[in-house]
Amino acid sequence: MVEAVKFYGKTGGKWIMKLRISMVIMAFLLFLAGTTMAFADEIIGDFVDKINPFEKLELGGYFKNETSLGLRGTSKEFMKINNIFDVKANYVFNDSVEFFTELKTWYDATYDVEGRFRDLSHKEKNIKLRMPIKTEWLRECYFDVYTSKLDLRLGKQQVVWGTTDGVRILDMINPLDYREWTLKPYSESRIPLWMFKAETELTMNSHVQLLLIPDYEPNYYAPAGSPFALRTVVIGAQAAANPYVNITTINEAPERKLENTKIGLRWRNILESGPLSGLEYTLNYLHTYSFASSAYKRVVFPQVTLTRRAEQIDVFGFSFAKSITKGLIGNFGKGWTIRGEFAYTKGGAMNYGTDKTIEGTVDTDQYNYALGFDKNLVDNWAISFQFIQLIADAKDKFSDGYTLLFGPTRGPLDKIETMATCKISTSFMHERVKPELLIIYGDDNDWRISPKVNFEVNDNWLLTAGLHIFEGKETQLNGQFDDNDQVFLEAKYSW
C-alpha cells in the first residue's frame, strides 16, 4: 500500500480516475463492436448503396476513435481522444476518366478534457491542434485520365517514392504532419499537395514519371505544450518567453509562382528475364523546397531576428527491390527480399552550435541511404529489418566546439547518424488477430518500442490496442519523448 502511494504520488487518485474513464471508453467500444458481431452484413454500406443515386459513384469511409493514455512522467493523462470521420468517393466517367476525393475531419477532445492544455493559446489549441489546418479536411481530390501508355493524375494527391517503411529517404514529395510525431502511418500523416502527375510507358515494365508541383506546404509541427511538441519547438517557445529579448520570426516560404514549381522525375524498370528477373529499380530526381525550414539568426541585442527559410534543394537518388526467388547457393538466401534506396540532397542548410543554442547556419549536403531485408518465416510469421544511415556534410567550416544540430531536437548531430528498425508480425484465428512488434533504434541508445495487436471483430469493425514506449536522451529523435510512453486503443468502423 505504501509502495502504491509512492508510485501514484499526489496525483494518484486522478490517475486512477482517468484510467477508469479510459477503461469505460474501451469497454464501450468493445461492447459496441461486440453487438454488431451478429450483423455480418454491412449496415451503413448497404444503406449508402441504396441511397446513392449514381451507378458510377462508389462511396466508402470510416469512423474511428483513437484514444491514448500517457503512462508516466507528467503525462499520466489522456494524450489523445480523437474522433475521425472519413469519406471517399470515386466517380467513373468512362474507362479513361475518373474522379476521386477523400474528405476527412476530426475532433480531438483531449485539449478540452485535460486541464494541462489550458495554457495553450486559442490559436495553438483550436487551429494547430484540434481543428484541421486550412484545407486539411480535403485529403485528396483529383482527376485520373488513363490511356494504354500514359496515366495522368491532376489534383491534390500524395506520391510516394522509395522502398523503405517509416523512413524518409526518397519519400520527399509530400511534407509530413508531425503533430503525433511518427506514430501514425505515413499515408495518414503525409500532407497531400496539388500537383500534376504523368506516368508513361517506355516498355511493358519500364515507366517514366513526371511530377509538376506548384503547391507548397511545410511540415506541420505540434506547438509547445502539446504532447508531441518537438524539443526544438519547446526551446524556441522558451526563448520567445524571455522578457529581456525581442524575437521576430520571418517565414520565407516559396510563393506559389510558376518559377517555384517543383519538379520530380522517376524512371522505374523491372527486369523480366535473366538471372536478375524480378529486380525492380528506380532512378529519381527531385527539384524541390525543404519542408523543414532552416533557421538564420541575427542578433542585435535585445532584438533577435529569426528567418526561417525553405531552402531550394535537389535530390538525386535511386532505389531497388529484389526477392531472392532461387537460392544463391543451394537454398541459401531464398525467400528473402532485399530492398534499398539512396538519396543525395544538394543545397540544404543546417544549424550549428551547441545543445539548444543556434550559433549559425551552414550549407549542408546530405547522403542518406537505407537497406531493408524481409522474409516470411514459418506459420505466418514475418520479419522486416532496416538499416539506415543519415550522413550530413557541412560545406563550410565552423569553429571547434560547435557541431551541426539535429533539426527536431536542436541537440548535437553526429556526422553519421545510424538507425535500425525491426518489425515482427504474425496472425492468428484466420487473420482476425494480428500482433505486431516494431522496434526503432538509433545510435546513442535511442529507442521506440511499439507492440500492438489488431482484432477484426467482423467485416466492419477493427479494434487495435498497443503501446508506444520511448527511451533515450532528450537530444535524440525518440528520446525527446521519453515521458510520452502511452497505451492506446483504436476502434474503427469501415463501410
Binding site: 454491412e42 466508402g60 470515386n90 502511418p185 499515408s187 511493358m204 526467388t325 525467400g335 522474409k375 496472425s427
Partner: protein, 293 residues
C-alpha cells in the same frame, strides 16, 4: 542416315516436351491406363488454366465460417495472363481485394516462373501505405489470405512438389457442399491418387486425391497427418465453361474444411471468362498504382 538423325531428333524433342510437362494452350484429359504422373500433370495444367491465354474472374467471394457459423467475407477480382514460357515466365496473376472496406484496394501482382525451383515474384499495393512493396514469397504452408487453403494449394504447388501413386479408380461417393447443402458429384467416375510431399516434415504426410475422369480436375482431397488421420478436406466443383466453340474445365466453387477446428473456407467464383485478350499492361505495377483505396 538422315532419316535416322531426324527420327532421333524427333524422339529427343518429344522426350523434352514430355519432361517439361504439357503444352500451353492445349487441353488434356485423363484417360484409362494413364500413369499417376500423367494424370497429375493434367490436374496442374487445368489448375493454372494453362490451356487458355488469359482468365478473368470479376467476382470472387471468400467466406470464412467458424464452428458457430459466424462468417466473415472477402471479395476480390482475379485476372491471369499465361506467358507460355516467354522469358521463363509461366503466367502473371493479379488479385485485387474489393471487400471489406478495411482491406479494399489491396492488390497483389504475382509472376510465376516455369522453373519450379524458383519462387514467385510478388508486388503488393498496400492502401494503408499508399505504396507498392516488393514482398517475399509466402511459405507454401502459410494460410492463403487467412483462409483454410494454404498458399501452395491456391498458387504455388506444382507437379514436382509431390510423388504420386495410382491407388485405383472408383465412383466418388459425393460431397455435401455445406454452403448450399447440396450433394455434389455423387457417383462421379474418378481416379484415386495418393500424393506424398517431397519436402520432409511437411504439414501433411500424404493426401488422397479424387480426379474427375471427365474434366481432369481434382474434385476432392483428403489430407492426412503423420498419424495417418484425416485432418482436412478440400472440395473443388469443376464444371465446364462453354462459350462459343470452346470447352474449358473451370473451378466454380471450392470448400476447404479444417476437421480439427471446425472452421471452413468457401470460395465462390462467378462470371469467369477466358481468352478475352487481356492486355498484359494490366499486370504491371503501373496498374497497381492506379488503386485509390
Amino acid at each position: 542416315m538422315k532419316r535416322m538423325v531426324l527420327l532421333f531428333g524427333m524422339l529427343f524433342f518429344a522426350l523434352g516436351v514430355f519432361a517439361q510437362g504439357l503444352e500451353y494452350g492445349e487441353l488434356y484429359f485423363p484417360k484409362d491406363g494413364m500413369s499417376a504422373d500423367a494424370i497429375m500433370r493434367i490436374v496442374y495444367h487445368n489448375k493454372y488454366s494453362l490451356f487458355a491465354q488469359d482468365y478473368k474472374l470479376p467476382d470472387c467471394q471468400i467466406l470464412y465460417v467458424d464452428k458457430s457459423g459466424f462468417t466473415r467475407k472477402k471479395e476480390a477480382i482475379r485476372e491471369r495472363i499465361v506467358k507460355a514460357g516467354e522469358n521463363g515466365l509461366s503466367y502473371k496473376d493479379l488479385v485485387v481485394v474489393t471487400y471489406p472496406t478495411q482491406a479494399k484496394g489491396l492488390a497483389i501482382l504475382t509472376w510465376t516462373y516455369e522453373d519450379s525451383a524458383k519462387d514467385q515474384d510478388t508486388w503488393l499495393w498496400i492502401p494503408s501505405l499508399k505504396k507498392i512493396r516488393k514482398i517475399s514469397a509466402s511459405e507454401g504452408d502459410d494460410a492463403f489470405m487467412g483462409s483454410d487453403f494454404t498458399v501452395e494449394e491456391v498458387s504455388t504447388r506444382g507437379f514436382e512438389d509431390e510423388t504420386y501413386k495410382l491407388v485405383g479408380e472408383e465412383n466418388f461417393k459425393g460431397y455435401t457442399f455445406e454452403h448450399t447443402k447440396e450433394l455434389k458429384f455423387e457417383s462421379k467416375p474418378c481416379f484415386v491418387i495418393e500424393c506424398t510431399p517431397v519436402k520432409p516434415h511437411w504439414y501433411y504426410s500424404k493426401r488422397k486425391v479424387w480426379v474427375d475422369k471427365e474434366t481432369g480436375g481434382n474434385i476432392f482431397d483428403e489430407y492426412y497427418d503423420k498419424n495417418g488421420k484425416v485432418f482436412k478436406t478440400r472440395f473443388i466443383e469443376w464444371v465446364w465453361y462453354e462459350p462459343d466453340t470452346k470447352r474449358y474445365p473451370i473451378q466454380l466453387n471450392l470448400e476447404c474444411k479444417d476437421l480439427r477446428t471446425g472452421h471452413r473456407t468457401v470460395i465462390l467464383n462467378k462470371d469467369m471468362s477466358y481468352d478475352t485478350e487481356l492486355d498484359e499492361r494490366r499486370f504491371t505495377i503501373r496498374m497497381l498504382e492506379r488503386s485509390k483505396w
